[in-house]
């Protein structure tokens, strides 16, 4: 059972959280320094509420960013971030260091997000299913002619809309790699899949996006 330490659960001022967050806020794609993370983690695992607040400050931006890009709704994303850190608080004592803490936390947060999507009626129930979409799998119109090339013609808003319309599994892998900047070995650890699977799923996600971004060109035209 996760440890809790009510003796140390004094309310922390927002400034404590903000000062820790300042360490990483200028580099949202970078991981916190491993040494600092390890020290804070050890104290948090021992029930130090101040250390847990520091962990929140160190990781909140990336966890919230992942949640927001997955659900495209700030209120939902905050709720999911809250649930992820609540689960972290419950389970932090069980972290044994088999993977990087950040990877472990992301895996936890991803499960929270996928569970949320499932509750909303979307066809995702686990990381395995997210990584192996069975419906409408694979890009169907990828055999493009050169005159339909996208190069230089994608605007960010169009891409963001297309990302939000991707099936959850493809959206997740694309956001993790191409938007948030994680490496395939990190993603493989987060999603408990092979590096090759991460690469091939990312390729399929990009093909899906290409199809989506090209669709307006076809409207009203016979095929």
């Amino acid at each position: 059972m996760p440890r809790t330490n009510t003796e140390k659960q004094d309310t922390l001022s927002p400034s404590v959280v903000q000062s820790a967050a300042a360490e990483v806020s200028a580099r949202p794609h970078a991981s916190p320094a491993p040494q600092a993370d390890a020290e804070v983690l050890t104290r948090a695992q021992a029930g130090d509420h101040h250390a847990f607040a520091q962990l929140y400050a160190l990781h909140k931006r990336r966890i919230y960013s992942l949640c927001l890009r997955m659900v495209s709704n700030p209120t939902e994303a905050e709720d999911l971030t809250q649930e992820a850190f609540l689960q972290l608080h419950r389970k932090i004592a069980t972290f044994r260091g088999d993977s990087a803490f950040s990877t472990w936390l992301h895996r936890l947060a991803i499960n929270v997000v996928l569970m949320h999507l499932r509750k909303k009626g979307l066809p995702v129930t686990s990381l395995d299913e997210a990584m192996e979409p069975t419906h409408d799998d694979g890009p169907g119109r990828s055999f493009g002619a050169p005159d339909l090339a996208l190069t230089g013609s994608i605007d960010r808003l169009a891409l963001e809309r297309a990302i939000s319309d991707l099936p959850a599994g493809y959206r997740l892998i694309f956001i993790l790699h191409d938007v948030e900047g994680y490496e395939h070995n990190e993603i493989a650890a987060m999603l408990d899949c092979s590096i090759g699977n991460s690469k091939s799923q990312l390729h399929k996600a990009r093909l899906k996006l290409r199809d989506a971004l090209r669709t307006p060109l076809y409207q009203g035209e016979p095929r």
Partner: protein, 84 residues
């Protein structure tokens, strides 16, 4: 499928792209890409999508009151646990 890397059709090449990428192959060096402008354009499109994705603006951080909400929920859980 021919299985011949030198003489793949576009259909064959594109059908195998995901597997080749998954196995770590550099598709830009593939013989089909060297000779096929259509599939080169496809690869360029995918690279463009990845490039634009990297330029998406980072999201703003969550609201400053989120930590207070988390802290309150932790206290409530601890209280519930302690009452049993």
């Amino acid at each position: 499928m021919t299985g011949d890397r030198e003489n793949m059709t576009c259909h064959e090449f594109q059908a195998r792209m995901a597997d080749m990428i998954g196995s770590g192959e550099d598709l830009t060096a593939h013989p089909h890409i060297q000779s096929c402008p259509t599939c080169r354009a496809l690869l360029a499109d995918l690279q463009t999508i990845a490039d634009v994705a990297r330029q998406l603006l980072p999201v703003d951080p969550p609201g400053e009151d989120l930590w207070e909400r988390i802290e309150l929920a932790i206290k409530q859980e601890a209280g519930t646990t302690g009452s049993h």
